[in-house]
């Protein structure tokens, strides 16, 4: 498999990744050389890099689906769509960050971290190898820790980052053990090798190995039992970073989880009920914790947990339903856009986060409040927003594969969730405003409105997306 020609074609399979690496380095060079007052220019460079990578990924969509780099990396449309979602989200987060960090004298390298973190998520989405998984996880996590702590002097941010780091370290090392166990059982680390080599009656070792890897991935997507960092980071980290780490790594984690479960031996695998239970536990826990939150960011963090639970319904259906992959991808699209819009509003409101402070912003900032309402209504699943289409698809696939109870649990959770979303929206519209409502600036506002508009557009014009996602394959060998 060596030789120049093969290598060259393989390199074209990972063009967006290469663009990101080179671009990240470029941003770092810029940050090195630029004087303090020009550090903000790094945002522009990073934006250009992300857009370039996005363009490349879009251009790669028509290509054939295959596994490249000796079975370790997938170049299928699922991975490409994941890349597109991740990169679009990164572009939005850069827009949110630029005004937020404007006064930080040394923040050029922030964007390098951002780009490398999204690279980690992208690698996660494409990985078909457990070692690749480890590398991608570490890249995505390590950058996430640093990003969360970017406000060096904020004790809240430091606390959140340390918690994030400790839980991450635990989950990642658990995952390493799991990877080692699975390697030992299958004699290979590629997912193709696992599918072929894992004994269907692997016994305790298989169970523990799978469980440990799932714990690692649960950390990444913010699912039970490794979900605890999400609300802390959402509340403590800089708001644009919170927008980033609650969305982007999740995309990668979900896609790898999807690849991982279809590589498991189908007969011995109780993985379907396992994931179903995780889904139900995650959505319920997230929802219940949301009920009495008085902090908007923390509420968003918990709602991110509950949304993960809904998304896991698509994973349950993988392999048994044709709609599972489109449902998963559409869910990710809807969730990422909705969450970006919601956090964007928080950023644009200069981090205003106490529920009491949100009262009456509808009168002072109607457009911004509308963006918040759109994202919340989309989370609830109100037609014609994209959250409705996502939920509809998720419910459909869950019922299709015989998990009606899960769909019912999700429906009940959805009803419960109306309560806490309305608990924010009602005072925002009907409360009395106290004082002026300061906002951050144009880039943040544009990113927020773009995300909110995308929530509406991808909801109303859902058909081309669903159709495109339906044509996306999920290859592991």
């Amino acid at each position: 498999m060596t030789g120049q020609a093969t290598m060259a074609t393989m390199v074209t399979d990972v063009l967006p990744e290469i663009v990101l690496v080179a671009g990240g380095v470029l941003v770092l060079l810029y940050a090195l050389l630029a004087p303090r007052r020009l550090q903000g220019g790094a945002a522009v460079v990073a934006m250009l890099v992300a857009v370039a990578a996005l363009t490349v990924a879009l251009a790669m969509l028509p290509g054939t689906e295959l596994v490249t780099f000796f079975g370790t990396y997938a170049r299928d449309r699922t991975a490409l769509w994941a890349k597109i979602i991740v990169l679009a989200a990164t572009v939005a987060v850069i827009g949110l960050s630029a005004p937020w960090f404007r006064r930080d004298p040394r923040h050029g390298e922030y964007y390098t971290l951002l780009l490398f973190s999204s690279l980690g998520a992208i690698l996660l989405a494409g990985a078909t190898d457990l070692k690749e998984l480890v590398v991608a996880m570490l890249l995505s996590s390590a950058t996430g820790f640093v990003l969360s702590a970017y406000h060096r002097r904020s004790s809240q941010a430091a606390e959140a980052a340390i918690k994030y780091y400790l839980i991450g370290a635990l989950a990642n090392s658990a995952m390493l053990f799991g990877v080692a166990l699975l390697f030992g059982l299958a004699g290979s680390t590629t997912l193709g090798g696992l599918a072929a080599g894992l004994p269907s009656d692997g016994g305790l070792a298989l169970v523990i190995g799978v469980g440990l890897v799932v714990v690692g991935l649960a950390f990444k997507i913010g699912a039970v039992p490794a979900h605890a960092w999400v609300p802390d980071v959402a509340q403590g980290a800089p708001a644009p970073v919170a927008a980033f780490v609650t969305t982007v790594p999740k995309v990668g984690g979900f896609i790898f989880l999807a690849r991982f479960v279809i590589a498991l031996p189908p007969d011995a695998a109780g993985w379907q009920p396992l994931v179903a239970v995780l889904a139900a536990a995650t959505m319920t826990l997230g929802n219940l914790a949301c009920l009495w939150q008085d902090d908007l960011r923390r509420l968003l963090g918990w709602s991110a947990v509950s949304q993960t639970g809904y998304g896991l319904m698509a994973v349950v259906a993988l392999g048994s339903s044709d709609l599972a992959v489109p449902a998963l991808l559409f869910f990710l699209l809807a969730y990422v856009l909705g969450n970006l819009a919601a956090f964007g509003v928080v950023v644009e409101l200069r981090g205003r986060t106490a529920l009491a402070d949100v009262a009456g912003i509808g009168e002072r900032r109607p457009a911004l409040t509308a963006a918040l309402a759109i994202s919340f209504l989309s989370f609830i699943g109100v037609p014609p927003l994209n959250g409705f289409v996502a939920k509809l698809l998720l419910f459909l696939v869950a019922i299709q594969v015989g998990y009606a109870w899960l769909a019912v649990a999700a429906a009940v959770n959805t009803v419960v969730s109306i309560f806490y979303y309305v608990r924010v929206l009602a005072p925002a519209y009907f409360g009395r405003p106290a004082g002026t409502v300061a906002v951050l600036g144009r880039p943040a506002a544009s990113a927020t409105f773009a995300a909110a508009a995308a929530v509406v557009v991808t909801g109303v014009a859902a058909e081309p997306f669903v159709a495109a996602f339906a044509a996306a394959g999920l290859v592991i060998r």
Binding site: T2, M7, V21, V25, L28, L29, A31, L32, E109
Partner: protein
């Protein structure tokens, strides 16, 4: 009983030694040292006068050193397997390692710029 012979001997030696120590402690009494002069009480500094108190706390930036060390250490770790396949893979391996080291060197530049290489 023959087997116990060496053991008994060694036990006897131990008891005797213990007794000698006890006796010297008993006989010697308390040591009576004269009062130290001021220069004698100063921590030994090779002749230089101390500028701060001996218990003064100061920051040793071990962590930044450790991080920089780790970066290069990992580089070395990667170079071992690389060295094994270098001959077989030839130019491609060379280019790959070149890219890797380039990025790493940029890291060093960054650390330099951030003054992470300056002690204290």
């Amino acid at each position: 009983m023959v087997a116990l012979g060496p053991l008994a001997v060694s036990f006897a030696v131990f008891v005797a030694g213990f007794a000698v120590v006890l006796a010297s402690w008993w006989l010697g009494g308390r040591p009576r040292s004269p009062a130290q002069t001021a220069p004698e009480r100063v921590p030994f500094g090779g002749g230089a006068d101390p500028r701060v108190h001996a218990w003064n706390r100061y920051h040793v930036r071990y962590y930044s050193m450790a991080l920089i060390f780790l970066a290069f250490d990992m580089e070395m770790v990667f170079m071992y397997p690389w060295a094994v396949v270098f001959v077989r893979e030839g130019l491609i391996a060379m280019v790959e390692m070149g890219m890797f080291i380039t990025i790493l060197l940029l890291g060093v530049l960054y650390a330099w710029r951030e003054r992470a290489l300056e002690w204290a």
